[in-house]
């Protein structure tokens, strides 16, 4: 009986996980708008805190926008695998006859699409609101596309670990901060360079390299972390 069971192609297994998570994330157009509004509001908070002085804001704009991106990615990723763990989806992923790393990447990509990429797409608007000069907007966009890939992947490791280890908060942040720092610095410098008329491409390349590296290595780390969590 077991010989003739058809298997999905790895690609299809991936895309099913992707769809599952994407649909759960984006039930309706209103839901789709939620992360957007969230970013918008967080951006608004900074002028409220720092004062409306346009010159000062525009000097800080690259750094602020990048820190906001990092913070909000952190806030939305922190519960990435939480519901999967509670509702038993993780058990099922673990017994599925496909590499856990691939399946999990389906989920992570859906998450990135619905939050990271979206943030990057609307970021020029935020740039304008914070007074970022127009010639920095495209680099802001590119740097965030690449950067949110890294942030999401690293956040996913953190989430996988915190799902498992009850007291793992400290461990998670120790893991996540150092890994995120280069992303922040590369991205922020790329934008600052573009604004001040320098050449951002080196920094974008570094960011791209970091994203590639994460894409290659992080899935393995995530699946290892999730397996540990199931045994806890």
């Amino acid at each position: 009986m077991s010989a003739d069971i058809p298997l999905l192609s790895i690609r299809e297994a991936f895309s099913r996980q992707f769809m599952r998570h994407f649909k759960a994330l984006m039930g309706s157009p209103t839901d789709m708008a939620n992360p957007l509004l969230f970013f918008f509001m967080v951006v608004t908070l900074f002028p409220m805190g720092l004062g409306p002085n346009p010159e000062r804001l525009s000097v800080m704009a690259p750094g602020l926008l990048w820190v906001v991106a990092l913070l909000s990615s952190l806030m939305v990723s922190s519960k990435l695998f939480g519901s999967d763990f509670e509702d038993g989806s993780l058990e099922q992923l673990a017994v599925a006859p496909y590499p856990l790393a691939i399946l999990v990447m389906g989920e992570v990509s859906a998450h990135w699409l619905g939050t990271g990429l979206l943030l990057a797409v609307v970021s020029p608007l935020f740039g304008v609101m914070l007074g970022l000069p127009a010639h920095g907007l495209d680099v802001l966009f590119y740097s965030l596309v690449l950067g949110t890939v890294c942030l999401t992947l690293i956040g996913a490791i953190g989430s996988a670990l915190t799902v498992s280890i009850r007291r793992g908060g400290l461990l998670m942040s120790l893991l996540v901060i150092p890994l995120n720092v280069p992303v922040l610095i590369f991205g922020n410098t790329a934008v600052s360079e573009a604004v001040s008329g320098g050449n951002p491409s080196t920094w974008l390349a570094l960011l791209g390299g970091f994203a590639m590296g994460s894409l290659a290595l992080v899935p393995i780390a995530i699946s290892a972390a999730l397996r540990v969590s199931l045994d806890n």
Binding site: T30, T44, M48, P52
Partner: protein, 238 residues
């Protein structure tokens, strides 16, 4: 009074003359503002944006109070019609707020040379938009629509208590940090040749608000009462 059949008939009559009136007033005001009124001596022709910007802003603000009042009525007296009103006001208010923001931003480019400034009034308007969007998103998110209306009523009441505080605090915030380079408020000595079309346009936007709210309510009511005999009777008679 307040019963759905009565309201449906009454609002039908109102809509019948309010619709042409509103469109007429809007076109008249727009033509007056664009074609007839003289240009401002400082800002030139860009000031003509005032005829859409200010009415939208004024009515959007008033709309929130209408919504919150409806919310209070719905919570205290459990009147279904108040739920429907609240539900109908939120999108209209949000659209008008967005219009005020966008036209303001467009106005900013020729006058200040920038699309966006964190001015007190602008910032308050942005927060008002967030408040409206919050109500809409909350309503959409609930599955049970009666519960949704009640939740939105709670939210809009909390918002109403808070709005004056928000406005005052944003004012203080701006006054404390106000940068010297931009001067925005205070030139309200407006010539009557410019004022009259503005007042007309504000009136037109109030009519527009009432009209769209009524239309939204009627559409909602028709659906909610699709099984009711009075509505079936009305459909049959048409």
């Amino acid at each position: 009074m307040g019963s759905p059949p009565w309201f449906f008939r009454f609002s039908g009559a109102v809509v019948r003359w309010l619709l042409p009136l509103t469109i007429g007033l809007l076109l008249l005001g727009a033509a007056w503002g664009l074609l007839v009124a003289p240009p401002d001596f400082r800002q030139g022709n860009s000031y003509r944006i005032i005829y859409v910007h200010v009415p939208a802003a004024v009515v959007a603000l008033a709309g929130y109070y209408v919504m919150a009042f409806a919310g209070a009525v719905s919570l205290i007296w459990r009147i279904k019609m108040a739920d429907v009103t609240m539900r109908a006001v939120a999108p209209v208010g949000a659209v008008l707020t967005a219009v005020a923001l966008v036209t303001g931003a467009i106005w900013g480019k020729p006058t200040w040379g920038t699309w966006w400034v964190w001015d007190a009034r602008i910032t308050s308007m942005l927060i008002l938009l967030f408040l409206y969007l919050g109500v809409i998103a909350l309503f959409e998110a609930y599955e049970n629509k009666t519960a949704a209306a009640r939740a939105c009523a709670v939210l809009s009441l909390v918002g109403t208590v808070n709005i004056p505080i928000i406005y005052k605090s944003v004012d203080w915030w701006y006054a404390l940090h106000q940068p010297a380079s931009i001067k925005f408020t205070g030139e309200s000595a407006i010539d009557s040749s410019m004022l009259h079309p503005l007042l007309l346009m504000i009136g037109a936007f109030y009519c527009l608000f009432a009209l769209t709210v009524l239309l939204n309510m009627r559409a909602e009511l028709v659906w909610n009462h699709r099984e009711a005999s009075w509505l079936k009777q009305m459909v049959r008679n048409v």
